[in-house]
């Protein structure tokens, strides 16, 4: 069967077909939103392997979950919040897993003057992922949800079952650590 053409301006038909478990619809959904969902998973888990696993689990469960999508707000917004919830649950289930620390200085020396804005961006582009991945789980989760995904502190507080104040404190601590690490490398 030829792949149906989903009108990119309306996602309702796509969501409906994906909810019915149609493989072509799920592939289309993956093409459209997979990258964003991978980013959510990567931000929260801090590991490319875990992020792939989370994404796979997510798509196994999506059709049933989509039946609970009430059409309020955007589909992508809903998918991101489901992905965030699931990635957090995944982290809690993984719990005590050990991660091999990545040597901070293992990458190639970045070009450009790290003292200028442009140089800083180049440097950050290459180093930022490692530095974020290295944050303690509790701080990285808040940092990723807030700075990468743009969730509000109220939303983060709900997701993590913490207070908004605690979310703000974790964000500040994450920023302080990142700033220190990235400065040290200059």
């Amino acid at each position: 069967m030829a792949r149906p053409l989903y009108d990119p301006t309306s996602e309702r038909a796509l969501a409906r077909d994906a909810a019915a478990g149609r493989p072509d619809a799920l592939r289309e959904l993956y093409d459209r939103h997979g990258a964003v969902l991978l980013r959510v998973a990567r931000g929260i888990t801090g590991s490319a392997d875990d992020a792939d696993d989370v994404l796979q689990e997510l798509f196994v469960g999506l059709p049933e979950a989509l039946r609970r999508f009430d059409g309020r707000g955007s589909l992508e917004g809903w998918l991101r919040s489901v992905a965030a919830r699931f990635a957090l649950r995944w982290m809690r289930a993984e719990g005590s897993r050990t991660r091999i620390p990545i040597e901070l200085d293992s990458g190639p020396t970045p070009r450009g003057d790290a003292g200028t804005d442009a140089g800083m961006r180049v440097l950050l582009g290459q180093r930022i992922r490692t530095a974020v991945d290295e944050l303690p789980d509790a701080l990285r989760e808040v940092f990723a949800l807030r700075e990468i995904e743009g969730f509000s502190h109220a939303e983060i507080a709900r997701l993590l079952d913490i207070t908004e104040g605690a979310s703000q404190v974790r964000l500040h601590r994450a920023r302080a650590i990142l700033r220190k690490r990235l400065r040290r490398e200059r």
Binding site: S10, R12, L26, L38, P63, R121, I148, L160
Partner: protein
Amino acid sequence: MMHPRFARLSALADDDGATTRDPRIVRHVEGCARCRETVAEIRRIRDAVRAEPAERPGAAVIEAALARRARGERVILPTAGGSAAAPRARARRVGVRAAVAVAAAILVGLLLPRGGELTAFSSELALTPAAPRPGDRITVEYRPTAGLGAEPRLVLRARLRTPADQGYESGAPPPVVAATLERDDDGIYRGAFALPDSAVFALLAVENEAATLIDTNARRGWEILVHDADGRPLREALEQRFNDMLGRSWEEGHAAVRRMAELYPDDVRSWTLLAATDRAVLGEAAADSLQALHEGRFRAFHERYRTDPSLDGDLVAWMMWYGRGTADSALVAHWEERLAREHPTHPLAVQDRIVYGIAAPHEDDPVRALELAEELWEEVGFRHANQLNVANQLADRSGDPELIRRWRRRSLELFPEQAGVVGRALVAHPELREEGLAMLRERIGWLEDAHRHRRTLFRTEAEQRDQYAQGRRSLLAVHGRALLAADRAVAALDTLALAVSGGWDPDLFRDVAEARLAAGDTAGAAELWAKAAVDPETAPAFADSARAWVPSVDDDAWRALLRSSRHEMIARVVDGSIQRRLPASLAMTDAEGARRDLVRDLAGRITAVVFWSRWCGPALEALPGIQRMADRLAADGAHLVLVVEDPPSAELRSFFEEQGVSLQILHDTRREAQAAFVNFGTPAYFVVDEEGRLRFEYGSLRELLRQVAVLRDERLVDGAGAP
């Protein structure tokens, strides 16, 4: 010179207005190069993180996921509400879902309930004419069920629906007394009443004058559908029957719209509702096969109406709705545009405007969204709860007390029964606390005797009073906590004492105990900690910890407290129980397809019966918890049975296997259990005692542990409810 702490600079770097800015810090940073650089650096890191291109995931991930699905694998995703992080949601249960019936208060030891719902299937209600026209006079003959036959007269109550009424019980006006039925010498009760001209559908129940016994016809009630001159039920009558079934029975609701589509095939509303319910009732496979039919129907309607310039707003809105469920988006867009252009104040258009035109594009800027919502409000006013809900969510997200007050006030004007909800929302903000407290007080006062004048069709006065009392206690707890937050400790403790005076909520006991201890009331705190400690949900270690918090209470006194708490728990929980005999046998099928008798399986032990469905989101989410509960109950010598409507299949077996489920599963393919338990939805929790009587109905998963423990121990307490 003192530089602000990093956290303050970090907060300043959030330029989204989420944090209030301290002008002193702003001034300092303006004049301090070092701090300015820190803020800039925080923003650079954020911008760099956001600017990183999203990596595209490989095709292997989706293919692996699809292969797993094809093998029947499923993963239950957390989609909404509560925290995703905590293993258990810590959210407090607030009140009881309105749809859940609360059991009658009865005495233990009697075979027949003294008050409550009669479930004998022997009664008959005959209505003449059977197919009435609008405004017809209807005569009633009622042959009573055993419990009602001794009364000289009975009361016929009715939920009357007009074409404008909405779905669910809450979408219809409160029930009215339709007629008084007098007993004749032949033992049959007779009476008559005139249907209001506007009524198209009625649901009836018969009760005694004291409203202590109700014949609900096994919760089906008796129905009146108003007919036209040709003897067909009105389309509006079928639509209201569908609305009335929402929250009661999807199957019956689906049957109503199927009939609508048969009788009124040219009416787009019939097909819209049919498409909307096909999937929920017939399952995915059947719904998929009907998809082409609906697509064809929609195209035919589209061709018929596309060029008609004089369509009314309702018809355009229904076309849009039907299209959204069935057609491709180009066709739907035609109707969306038309509704927006020609009927911008139609409720569905208003809803679309606020959801898709205002809330969604300004997701990150609730204040701006509310400015636009304000304009829309001035243009059309909002008359539907959905529209106001969106505005209220935006206001909550803005965190601005003035906006929160304005929109909550508007909700309250339209829906006065929302006073509790609005009060709850307001007391969360210090600036709005007093206003919220006043609303809560008013609602709490109203709930005190509301059961006399506002009672749902299937509830006795006592059941309704219990229901309201539960809601009242929950609001008292909110009120008390808000007073505590306002440092009004004395008033807070008085209110909280009322909140814990009935019902059984260990979380609330603990909260109030802490408040009492903080106020110096050690004895009062100890009393509530003892209550929390004896609850089966509480970890055994809690009793020891709590004991240590109140050193002034000696060991004997503590033991006595635990003992009396235990008795009180039994009394309070038994007070909310029922006693209903189940039929002598209920034919079921086990996972291997062998015939089983549920009643025989229940005999001799306390059993939790859980109605569950593979096709229901909440049921899927509850499954791991149900398994854990079964394990805990087994350790206590009790049992849990999962009742599934679907027939046994290899696919279902492997699904349970993969979910790590090792429950006893019985398949209720003939729906005998569903009828006997009078159950309409999933997940639904019931408890049957050792004698095979149904004792708790429509409870929650969490409550099962307590209910089972209480049934096990109730004999120890003098064979009756009182300690």
